[in-house]
């Protein structure tokens, strides 16, 4: 495999009228990436194609957020999530991701589609960063990654439940 990329404090931004688009197959392997995606993350399309989407995963992201994302996708529901991604250089960029299943003509899910937009910096700074920090600490506090994931997911669900009727509603209320 590729050498582990060391995250840096450099932030990459993109314009509000730009969308980072990618499509994946059912296993999360990239089947399409638009030029904005390639430009921001620093990987060429050739590198991105067929690569797992986790190629841009940032170590600051709690795993429970991805569990929630995949759980909702498994129910054929759209998901919104604030995600911190990591570019090839180790620089980071925040996105507000909208992930939806793609359906074939027979009505079956054929893959997933992700449109990522510039997030509201205030929400990222005031809500998301502290929240993810806490979830990450919970995950790190457990010896086994599995237990950590269970604990942080429960913590996330409790926070959701205390603030809104659903995760979706909470995200849109921010």
């Amino acid at each position: 495999m590729k050498p582990r990329i060391q995250p840096t404090s450099e932030e990459i931004t993109f314009l509000p009228d730009e969308i980072i688009v990618s499509k994946t197959d059912l296993k999360g392997r990239i089947t399409y990436a638009n030029s904005t995606f390639s430009r921001i993350c620093g990987y060429s399309r050739a590198e991105l194609m067929n690569a797992p989407h986790s190629i841009i995963r940032h170590p600051d992201m709690p795993r429970c957020v991805f569990k929630l994302l995949w759980d909702q996708l498994a129910e054929e529901r759209e998901v919104f999530a604030y995600v911190k991604n990591m570019a090839r250089t180790g620089a980071f960029y925040w996105v507000f991701a909208h992930v939806t299943p793609s359906f074939g003509s027979d009505g079956k899910v054929t893959g997933y589609h992700s449109s990522r937009r510039v997030p509201d910096r205030r929400i990222v700074r005031e809500v998301i960063e502290p929240l993810y920090g806490e979830l990450l600490r919970t995950e790190a506090a457990h010896a086994s990654p599995k237990d950590g994931l269970v604990a942080s997911f429960a913590q996330l669900m409790n926070i959701v439940k205390s603030k809104a009727a659903s995760y979706d509603e909470l995200i849109f209320s921010l």
Binding site: P16, I19, D168
Partner: protein
């Protein structure tokens, strides 16, 4: 810049070939075959470049046509995957992919936002970032429409909540009032039946009293009669007493006459005693004379002796008569005294009788009054009896009315409850009416076995048909009621909460409680319905 470079890319190689060929023609005319050959070779090379460029562009155009066709057919998954080509081919690829991405994003956003509205979730808006031009305007329009729908739905919710609350409070009042009315009717009925009982008691008492009064009246009448009789008797005894008084007076006079006659007899007896004494004296003289006359006088002496004895006898007799007369006189005096006493007594009796007559007259007046009073009382008790009979009738009518009132209040209360249920259901339907109607058309045939669990037990059933909002199930149904909450589990072991909305012909219709459904359950339901729809469409 792009335009001029594109134009350069399109025309430069062709222009170069034309110039090279023109140069070659010039070289031939100038009789410079080497130069001409070189130029022709260069032109051939340029032509090859033109050809390659044309093929590249043609391939890019072909891919673009494929993507555009797929987009036209609504397939947003297809992209031109020949990335990072230089020049116009690369630009075309990126432009067509960018177009597909934006339309794809818009369609996903718009349909997700509309799906959310369909599920009565109004927080979901289209994210305007990344949208441009008409797509941005359409997004804004859809978001504004969602705002309006949300406002209307909220206003509608508030109105229906208020309406529901008002109806509920009316129904509560109605039920309370009818309960009070029922209570009042019960008490009224109890009162009426108690009145009836008491009136019956009073009627029998009054009837008895009436009989008593009747008897008293008769007794009073008899008493009056007796009093009159007594009066007459007293009158007669007074008359007898008066007669006795006059007789006593007469007797007194007679006795007084008797006393006078006795005194006269006494005087006569004195004379007789004188005669007898003289006779005795004569006889004594005769005896002496006869004794002197000796034997001649002897017979005479006997006569004288007898005269003497006669005189003695007379004297004795008169003495006895005197004694008798004295006795008669004493008796007469006693009789006079007695008669005088009798007269006094009779006078007293007379006076008493007079008094008695007054008393008896007062008594007669009193008994007459009593009789009259009793007669009135009798009439009174009869009227009381009549009125009590009337009261009994009214009490029975009241009792019947109270019974009617009680059942009416029960019916009223039941109607109130029914109204509350109807209104509640009406509001539920009203709130999701358009949704229901839309999805009623999407009802698809079922056929799979399910378990329906309710508070009345759990049973197996078969799904007849199903939609996103509800389903119809058949089977051996236990005693279920409309409004029962049930949980339906199918083969996938996913619990779908539902409420029974109707029971008919061995089938039940349930409405799914979507608010309580887990995402897995909604999803399972959606898959079932879409599968059914696909099967129906295939058939």
């Amino acid at each position: 810049m792009t335009n001029s470079s594109s134009r350069f890319e399109a025309f430069a190689p062709g222009l170069a070939v034309i110039l090279l060929l023109a140069g070659a023609a010039g070289a031939v005319m100038a009789d410079m075959p080497t130069v001409a050959l070189c130029l022709i070779a260069a032109a051939a090379a340029g032509t090859a470049v033109v050809l390659v460029l044309a093929l590249r562009l043609s391939a890019a155009v072909r891919r673009s046509i494929q993507v555009a066709r797929a987009l036209g057919e609504g397939d947003f998954e297809v992209r031109d995957l020949a990335f990072d080509q230089w020049g116009q081919a690369g630009e075309l690829t990126e432009a067509i992919n960018d177009m597909a991405d934006h339309i794809d994003a818009f369609v996903r956003e718009a349909s997700a936002a509309m799906e959310a509205v369909r599920l009565n979730r109004y927080y979901r808006r289209i994210l305007p970032n990344g949208m441009k031009g008409a797509l941005l305007r359409a997004s804004t329009t859809i978001n504004e429409a969602t705002d309006v729908i949300q406002e209307r739905v909220e206003a509608f919710e508030i109105s229906t909540d208020e309406f529901g609350a008002t109806i509920n409070s009316i129904v509560e009042s109605l039920v309370d009032a009818s309960r009070d009315m029922g209570g009042a009717a019960t008490r009224l009925g109890e009162g009426a039946s108690s009145t009836d009982q008491r009136a019956s008691d009073a009627a029998s008492s009054s009837s008895m009293a009436s009989g008593d009064v009747q008897r008293v009246a008769q007794a009073a009448a008899q008493l009056t009669g007796s009093a009159r009789e007594v009066g007459r008797e007293v009158e007669r005894s007074a008359a007898i007493a008066r007669e006795a008084v006059s007789r006593a007076d007469e007797t007194q006079r007679i006795v007084a006459g008797l006393s006078e006659a006795a005194e006269k007899i006494g005087a006569v007896i004195g004379m007789i005693e004188q005669v007898a004494g003289q006779t005795n004296l004569l006889a004594l003289n005769a005896t002496i004379e006869a004794a002197r006359a000796g034997e001649a006088g002897k017979g005479f002496a006997v006569v004288a002796q007898e005269v003497k004895a006669l005189a003695s006898q007379t004297a004795a007799a008169t003495g006895e008569i005197t004694r008798h007369i004295s006795e008669v006189q004493a008796a007469t005096r006693a009789a006079v005294g007695s008669i005088a006493g009798i007269g006094g007594t009779i006078a007293e009796i007379n006076a008493i009788t007079a008094d008695m007559r007054g008393s008896i007259e007062a008594q007669i007046a009193a008994t007459t009054e009593i009789a009259q009073g009793v007669g009135n009382a009798s009439e009174g008790t009869r009227q009381v009896s009549d009125r009590i009979a009337g009261i009994t009738g009214i009490a029975r009518e009241t009792s019947a009315l109270a019974q009617g009132l009680f059942s009416t209040s029960g019916a009223l209360s039941a109607e109130g409850d029914r109204l509350a249920v109807t209104v509640r259901e009406f509001l539920v339907r009203l709130r999701r009416g358009p949704l229901d109607r839309r999805q009623a058309a999407e009802r698809v045939p079922g056929g799979h076995a399910v378990t329906i669990a309710s508070a009345r037990g759990s049973f197996q059933a078969t799904c007849v048909d199903i939609s996103m909002t509800g389903g119809r199930f058949g089977g051996q149904l236990p005693d279920l009621r409309i409004g029962d909450d049930v949980h339906i589990t199918g083969e996938a072991d996913i619990d779908v909460p539902a409420t029974i909305r109707w029971i008919r012909d061995g089938n039940i219709g349930v409405e799914f409680r979507q608010a309580e459904m887990t995402p897995a359950a909604s999803n399972r339901l959606r898959r079932l319905v879409s599968k059914g729809r696909a099967m129906t469409a295939a058939a």
